[in-house]
Assembly symmetry: C2
Homo-oligomer: 405 residues x 2
């Protein structure tokens, strides 16, 4: 049911990165579920992880390893999240890293583990050895699309994208893949993103540019508000292009940051378009706010409202629900009588009430589209924010109420 | 689909209060939709109103009137919320108060208006004059159940209750009615509560005792997190029992406060049991928290999680979703490894992971009940909180995606 989402355009290889996939039988049959990404020596990495206090064992371990060594391998499995598994889960994740480090010829700390899938079940470590062998034997530079397929759980389409920019006459390439949509389904968790570039950046700068790119992409989307236990976004910079961006004042930093942010935004939107049961792709634009935080608070309140989301599913211009969500968003001293509302360019409410020129027919026409822009003007400042979400459909309940087996 | 909810036991009359109902044709045909409550001279009132910045015209006016004069009449209509209607809505609410004040022989400020129903449509003021005449002609002491029926919108059952306590050898009676469940349906708004007592209390004390009763009742429930534009809970104290409770140290205050809190809790639970599409009545108990606020934050995060709610609908012991919601609730320094989880007395997770003795069969048996208690022990303090909610069903989406007409 992905809304306006297609197979990604060809994903460009990144010098210094090779990818291999395998069918390890971790949960699924007859499909690839294990991905190994090999990074050339000298590659630097940065990552952002879920803020969920119940973060999964691989998240704990990847965070720790990243603080110790430069990454040489990423090890990703689909079908089992290795979350809610306690000390045994941590030991299992460590063992999978050890298996890959042994075969890959690197320190255990140079392996970053990632898992996505069912929560609370033991990771079947015994299936990793053969899977890792196969994936290592399969390593190729041009396997990004295969990798995007491999990490899918209930995604209906693989998600990926590439960007190229020129810096000092050199071409710098970025390629990224993502999987997920909220917490996806009964016990699947969730959002994983892997981005590679042949630019070179020191770790601190890599972390900075990645965090900056999150703000307007993965930190601005929501399906159901349920932050997963396994979310992770990792950026690997091989430096193979010969371009080294040493600090934020370097020529090329701004262009690189913009290309990364743009790529992240594309991937984040792809996640929303492929969200559970989605029939609408919804942009919530909040303008006229006193601060960015305030604008985001209003945008997320609207984007999380089950009543707004069910009305969107019904293509019902039920604007009272949107204003009610704005009204309960908790920003201080909101003057409801100054709020304007537009949907897909149709003025719905002016000064907190129905616009004199509004007709139900115009509202229905606007809501009939599959891409919806809700624009809320608070008329009290210059700050704005943009949040992406989707609707709440019968299919969402069906997917999430389906029993796990 | 109300979960374990029945018609209320006989509702006891309150000396000093009379109720009359009428079919004014405000939106519905062939049913009562207008309620007048007449309070004897000397009655004092207190109310709590929605915190939604987009509060409806009647909420604005009732709040203002209550600050000016002691209430003599409450005027309630179902079918139209008079919300999102701007200055015209305020004028309409004022006109309905004027109509009742004229016929009832009191100051306009002594009339408190309440509306519930569709948002954003003009209130049909022309239908109020005849309706008010009929309701005034119908005034009776024993019409509480009729009143509870009259204010229903998509409630499937009327909600009410009575309590009697002895103070200084006198019997003091409290009777209350409520309607609503979250934002109820496409454009219905929402929770209205009217409670009467023949005890006498000064306004300030009345406000204090009502606020105290809210904490563990209406402020501890959620269907969808969508605070309505029209919520109001009003308490009228006629003093007709001869008992005057002058301050919080008076004999009887504690008993009165306890009876009121108990009544409010019954009414709040009735709202949840009759919630949109509800198939489960869910109590979320959070214990071992550092503070009450922290416990409530965790409880509401769990109660609002669409993934938890769809799992409850499916009777699926998908405990990873509950822990994931606890983990994202935003309380500082949560140690996931100290969290225990029980459902209906079955130990699910110990120390943040699946309990060794837990089996899927035991979890399924616990979840098969229609009344579910989720107990979360954070093991970091002595504070606790209890939140009531229901599940997220196909019926919820159907109700809320149904077009308004």
């Amino acid at each position: 049911m992905a809304v306006g989402l297609q197979l990604p355009a060809p994903l460009l290889p990144i010098d210094g990165l090779r990818l291999g996939v395998a069918a390890a039988g971790i949960r699924y049959r007859s499909r690839n579920d294990l991905l190994v990404i090999e990074a050339a020596s000298g590659t630097r990495g940065a990552a952002v992880f879920t803020k969920n206090a119940f973060c999964a064992a691989p998240v704990q371990l990847a965070r720790r390893h990243l603080g110790i060594a430069a990454p040489r391998f990423l090890l990703v499995n689909a079908g089992n999240a290795n979350a809610g598994t306690g000390a045994a889960g941590l030991a299992a994740a460590q063992e999978t890293c050890r298996l890959l480090a042994e075969r890959g010829g690197c320190a255990v700390d140079a392996v970053l583990p990632f898992s996505t899938g069912v929560i609370g079940e033991p990771l079947p470590v015994d299936r990793f050895a053969d899977g890792i062998e196969s994936a290592l034997a399969d390593l190729r530079k041009d396997a990004w699309l295969d990798a995007a397929h491999t990490i899918m759980t209930t995604d209906t389409l693989p998600k990926g994208g590439s960007r190229q920019i020129e810096i000092d006459g050199h071409t710098v390439t970025l390629t990224g893949i993502a999987k997920g949509a909220g917490m996806i389904r009964p016990d699947m968790a969730t959002l994983l993103v892997f981005i590679g570039t042949d630019a070179g950046l020191p770790e601190a700068l890599l972390g900075k540019v990645l965090h900056a790119a999150m703000a307007e992409s993965f930190n601005s989307i929501t399906v159901d508000g349920d932050t997963s236990t396994n979310d992770a976004c990792t950026l690997l910079a091989t430096g193979a292009s010969g371009i080294e961006i040493v600090d934020a004042d370097s020529p090329g930093y701004a262009a690189f940051a913009a290309a990364l942010a743009d790529l992240c935004q594309q991937l984040a939107q792809a996640v929303i378009r492929d969200g559970e049961g989605a029939t609408k792709f919804v942009t919530v634009d909040v303008v006229g706010a006193r601060s960015k935080d305030e604008a985001r608070q209003v945008g997320f309140t609207v984007a999380h409202s089950p009543l707004v989301k069910t009305a969107l599913f019904a293509s019902d211009p039920n604007w009272g629900r949107i204003l009610a969500a704005v009204g309960r968003s908790g920003i201080p001293d909101l003057d409801a009588a100054r709020v304007d509302l537009d949907i897909n360019g149709v003025r719905i409410a002016t000064a907190g009430g129905r616009d004199p020129a509004y007709t139900e027919a115009r509202g229905q026409a606007a809501l009939a589209e599959s891409d919806i822009v809700i624009r809320i003007d608070l008329s009290r400042g210059d700050a704005s924010a943009r949040i992406w979400t989707n609707d709440l459909s019968h299919e969402y309940v069906r997917i999430n109420a389906d029993y796990r087996s």
